[in-house]
């Protein structure tokens, strides 16, 4: 995976190598779980954005009605790695365009009202500019058919809730260029 990072001076963000601070998008309708995953990811040196549903996740990723919006097309040129974005549940803050293309991993709950994590996975994998983004599915239910279906659709990992810090550390190592 190419290590590429463009500084987004307009946002005033610190120009750190993305390998050190990958940007993760966490999607979960449960408020308690969003707070926990956010903390676990931050403790694993990830930048985190959380959102409460698949629709908001896709909006953040720059996909609207299955098509990238024009802002994203501009920013995704040259972007060579999948991005995981955890969107803030408030989501009233306008995000700089470049930030949307810097999601290095998506971690999503499976059971969500409206769009399930599986449906979100399919939309991401079905998009030409997002399909390289690794997606991890989490679920409180250990259903082998569900797990297989997600892995077949291209999920990198399937993890069971409740998550532990060690699960998130492993995830970071396996999927996001582990640096100790």
């Amino acid at each position: 995976m190419a290590s590429y990072y463009a500084s987004s001076s307009s946002s005033g963000e610190v120009t750190a190598d993305h390998r050190d601070f990958p940007h993760v998008l966490a999607v979960d309708d449960n408020h308690v779980d969003r707070k926990i995953i956010e903390t676990m990811l931050r403790n694993s040196s990830c930048r985190v954005t959380t959102v409460e549903n698949g629709t908001r996740a896709l909006e953040y990723l720059g996909l609207r009605d299955g098509q990238p919006n024009s802002a994203t097309l501009v920013s995704s040129a040259g972007c060579q790695f999948p991005v995981m974005v955890i969107l803030p549940s408030s989501y009233e803050i306008p995000m700089p365009i470049q930030q949307a293309s810097k999601v290095n991993l998506v971690i999503t709950d499976y059971c969500m009202p409206g769009m399930t994590g599986y449906e979100l996975l399919k939309k991401i994998k079905g998009s030409s500019f997002l399909k390289e983004v690794p997606v991890v599915i989490v679920s409180s239910e250990n259903v082998p058919t569900r797990i297989n279906k997600c892995l077949e659709e291209g999920a990198k990992m399937f993890m069971l809730k409740p998550l532990k810090q060690s699960d998130v550390k492993k995830l970071r190592c396996h999927l996001l260029n582990c640096r100790s």
């Binding site: 449960n30 408020h31 308690v32 779980d33 707070k35 903390t39 676990m40 809730k161």
Partner: protein
Amino acid sequence: MDALQLRRQLIEYTAELFSEGFLDEQFTQLQQLQDENNPDFVVEVVSLFFQDSERLLNELAKSLSQQEIDFKKMDAHVHQLKGSSSSVGAHRVQRSCISFRDFCNAKNVEGCLECLQKMKHEYSLVKDKLETFFDLEQQLSTTGGSPPPP
């Protein structure tokens, strides 16, 4: 009570909460996530859990009082409650949610009503216990005592 006594009391109280099944290892996970960068993490998460639980328990009661009971909606609510209680380590609440779900799947209204009472009871017990726990922690911190490791 001095810091040493308070600390001992807190350790004993915590051990009781675990041995009586009110809390499980997930609560310990939360405690381990708390540090100087995130000093109020456990209280914050547990407060969210309290808010969510109260809302969901009310929703379940409302659903069960309807003429036409929406089992699908109730299932969604109890799924949420089961999820949050599991994530904070509120073990007995989580278990009562599992029972409720079984009654809900069987469309057994009597069973659901009885189970909801049990869920409310378990929730109010763990809420009391956690509030006492946080109170002891606060007292210990006020006396300058060092918190016991999780």
